[in-house]
């Protein structure tokens, strides 16, 4: 030791051994990397289902037994050896359509979630870091968006812009950014006041640097968790819009639209039943994964995330 530390008993009390954090028991768990989170049973099941769906989506053209658009089967035939999941009102193969629909639904949902996570967390970070008027304006707008139930607002936007996948995405984007803004804002606000950020500022960090270098790494994982959970709700909202024929434009196969078609063909239960099952499983997969990821966050942050997803 170069500097004169007063003589210490050599057998220093070993109180520094690894021990319980009295202050923030969750901090250690932040470090658990995501793949580990998937080792929980639910996370594993979720990842499995998702993987199956990814395969289905990627290889849909190979897997789909028939052309999803070709109307060359008897209309409304029940599941049988040829059309495993039956045919729809126009004589198209339901199985092929389901598989092909995954190709649009999944990327669209992920895309919309990424966009709204980016938009929302950037706005939230700005609001949380700079506070005052900026914060008020951004958060009041977010409150406003919150004041409309998602589907109704999305419905109006989609109706105004006209049906179509692009417009449905815009609608969902416009209604879903506030939850990210809220979470990010509150995380940034907590982080902003936290001692490591203040320490950085005392070292002369600019606002930008402190946001990017100190705060961002601590905010990203909750946002990722939230986003994972949100893919599920994006899929649900998208399906809801399609169900109300405000989503993807035909002939693009779409689960929500298929269900709505099936609703008018009650006796042909297979038209609605299977796409619904698809939505259910895929949303569940995302929720399972998101849940396990959330469990890796510390309780406080997890609650922050939980409050808005729901």
């Amino acid at each position: 030791m170069s500097i004169g530390t007063p003589k210490q008993p050599t057998n220093t009390p070993t109180t520094e051994a690894v021990r319980r954090d009295p202050v923030d028991p969750g901090l250690k768990r932040w470090q658990i990397r995501f793949p580990k989170a998937l080792r929980t049973p639910l996370g594993f099941v979720g990842a499995g289902i998702l993987a199956l769906w990814l395969i289905a989506a990627i290889f849909a053209p190979l897997l789909a037994p028939f052309d999803a658009l070709a109307q060359n089967f008897p209309r409304l035939s029940a599941p049988n050896g040829e059309n495993l999941l039956g045919t729809d009102t126009l004589g198209r193969d339901v199985l092929s359509r389901i598989l092909v629909a995954a190709r649009t639904t999944l990327p669209a949902a992920v895309f919309v979630v990424i966009c709204s996570a980016l938009l929302g967390s950037v706005l939230g970070a700005i609001a949380g870091y700079f506070g005052r008027a900026v914060d008020e304006i951004i958060m009041r707008i977010a409150d406003l968006v919150f004041a409309f139930p998602t589907i109704i607002l999305a419905m109006v936007i989609a109706a105004a812009l006209g049906p179509g996948l692009k417009n449905a995405i815009i609608a969902i984007l416009l209604v879903s950014w506030p939850s990210y803004a809220r979470v990010t804002r509150s995380l940034v606000m907590t982080a902003r006041g936290s001692e490591y950020v203040i320490a950085g500022r005392l070292l002369g960090f600019s606002a930008g640097r402190s946001l990017a270098r100190e705060i961002a790494p601590n905010v990203i994982s909750p946002v990722v968790v939230l986003a994972t959970l949100d893919v599920g709700s994006a899929i649900l909202t998208m399906a809801g819009l399609s169900f109300l024929s405000l989503g993807a434009v035909p002939p693009t196969p779409d689960w929500g639209a298929m269900i709505s078609e099936g609703v008018s063909q009650f006796a042909a239960w297979w038209i609605a039943f299977f796409p619904g099952l698809c939505i259910l499983t895929i949303v569940m997969a995302f929720n399972f994964i998101g849940d396990s990821l959330r469990d890796t966050l510390d309780p406080h942050t997890a609650q922050e995330v939980g409050e808005t997803t729901s």
Binding site: A70, R75, L90, G162, S245, V249, P250, S264, F266, A268
Partner: protein, 496 residues
């Protein structure tokens, strides 16, 4: 409680279901399906169709006489003891007032009496005079939009014969007709309830109360199936097939509505669709048998936009046929190579159970086989209609419901007509000539002259007739006897 065993529990109430298309039941403003269904049960008209035969106008409240030149019609009040729901007798004043109000308030149905002068001659007589010959007038007057209202009461409630009229709200809630029913409760969003008019001079209806509910077709199906409803108007053929014989019957009649593809004749807007060869290729590429299959049993081919049962209809064996080879050849001539053509339609509309969205998807798939690429542009009907009316759509699905069963109703599709304007089709000397000839034709010659005109119209392929759907009414098994015809798809007053 559950539904099935209560089918008879309805007692003297008849529950009818339809997806509402209802703006008003003021007869002189009403121009939609639901409104006319209701008004035909509430109001009597000056003329009627004999047993629902749309080619045979006959006496209603009045008997009529048409002058030789078809310019003057004399109506003579016939039914002495016809009474309004408040007991007032129906007079010539009421008839004249109703006609004038229809004209004056400039609502949707005002055009029915365009260019017609109404004159009350005496207590029993009213004359209708037109500048031009108006042979269609007898076919027009049975329309429920021209229902006869109690002029005294309507006037007392701000009713006038000009645009200042303020009786709509009143008429919605207090019908003033002489028909078998009157309004008990009007809720344009959910349901309209009618009760029997005790002053009605016809046979007393068995069902004293009619509940017309606003529900979607799928609910109608389950309700008929479970006996919750007795009449369903909107089932498509697939749904109609599902009804157990024990639960209900299906009454199918040729619809008076036509489905067609429109092509914009203006090259700037229509693009390829403005090219006659392309249009003819489209006409040849459509698989009409499949469309009939989609529209259900009872639907028919159409050789023009005029329904097959009407005077002036082109015989259906002259309807276009599928010929992919020909289509491909025509496309080559048109110089079309697969560019996308925007194709507009109302995504929320079904015509007699034919879902336009499905129709569009089917057409897209069929035309694809000939190498034509449609770019589907669905929109809510109000948006779509808006675009169509402003003549901005290159191609799409159009629908036309007959306002009255006469070929003149289809003159709007000839260059110079309102609808032709919407596809920027302003001039065609040949058709003009044919139209003039048809207008002059009388008696049996009329039929042939109009058929010739509309056949020539179809040949231009600006309008491509697709299918004449079938109007289906499902009637619950608790109703043993009912009247359903081309004029009134279900007559509440005559149901037993």
């Amino acid at each position: 409680g559950s539904g099935s065993d209560e089918a008879g529990g309805a007692g003297d109430t008849i529950v009818a279901e339809t997806a509402f298309n209802l703006k008003t039941i003021d007869p002189h403003r009403q121009f939609e399906f639901t409104g006319s269904t209701i008004d035909s049960a509430i109001y009597q008209t000056a003329l009627e169709f004999e047993d629902g035969d749309l080619t045979k106008p006959t006496d209603g409240l009045c008997s009529f006489e048409m002058s030789e030149d078809s310019k003057e019609m004399t109506l003579t009040l016939k039914d002495e003891d016809a009474k309004f729901s408040n007991g007032d007798p129906v007079t010539a004043d009421d008839i004249a007032f109703s006609f004038e109000r229809l004209q004056g308030i400039k609502g949707n149905p005002s055009f029915f009496l365009d260019g017609v002068k109404v004159k009350k001659v005496d207590d029993k007589t009213v004359t209708l005079t037109s500048e031009e010959p108006n042979p269609a007038l007898p076919y027009i007057l049975p329309n429920s939009s021209i229902g006869i209202v109690n002029s005294k009461v309507v006037k007392e409630n701000e009713g006038t014969t000009d645009e200042k009229d303020g009786a709509e709200q009143f008429l919605n809630e207090n019908s003033q007709g002489s028909g078998p029913y009157k309004v008990e409760k009007y809720d344009a969003d959910s349901q309209v309830v009618l009760t029997a008019n005790e002053h009605y001079n016809g046979p007393e209806p068995k069902y004293k109360r009619v509940v017309l509910r606003n529900v979607s077709a799928e609910t109608q199906l389950t309700d008929i199936q479970s006996g919750q409803a007795q009449v369903a108007y909107d089932l498509n053929s697939d749904q109609a097939k599902q009804i157990d014989e024990s639960m209900g019957k299906i009454s199918s009649l040729p619809s008076t509505r036509s489905l067609y593809i429109f092509n914009n004749a203006d090259e700037k807007i229509g693009g390829p669709a403005a090219d006659p060869n392309f249009r003819k290729a489209v006409m040849a590429a459509i698989d009409y048998d499949k469309l009939i299959d989609l529209a259900g049993k009872g639907s028919q081919r159409m050789a023009s936009l005029v329904p097959n049962e009407f005077v002036g209809a082109v015989p259906k064996d002259e309807a276009p046929e599928r010929d992919l080879e020909k289509a491909k050849k025509l496309l080559k001539e048109a110089g079309y190579d697969g560019e996308k053509v925007p194709f507009h339609y109302s995504s929320d509309q079904a015509v007699n159970g034919v879902d336009l969205a499905q129709l569009a998807e089917t057409l897209q798939a069929q035309l694809k086989e000939a190498g034509i690429n449609l770019d589907l542009k669905p929109a809510p009907s109000s948006t779509q209609l808006d675009g169509f009316r402003s003549a901005k759509q290159p191609m799409g699905i159009g629908t036309w419901g007959a306002d009255f069963p006469d070929p003149t109703n289809y003159n709007v599709f000839i260059p110079g007509g309102d609808v032709a304007d919407r596809v920027n089709w302003s001039d065609d000397p040949k058709l003009k000539k044919l139209a003039d000839e048809a207008a002059k034709a009388k008696g049996d010659a009329r039929d042939a002259a109009y058929a010739k005109l509309f056949k020539a119209t179809t040949d231009t392929a600006v309008w491509i007739p697709l299918v004449q759907p079938v109007s289906t009414v499902a009637v619950g098994s608790s109703i043993k006897k009912f009247v359903s015809n081309a004029d009134i798809s279900f007559d509440f007053a005559k149901a037993e």
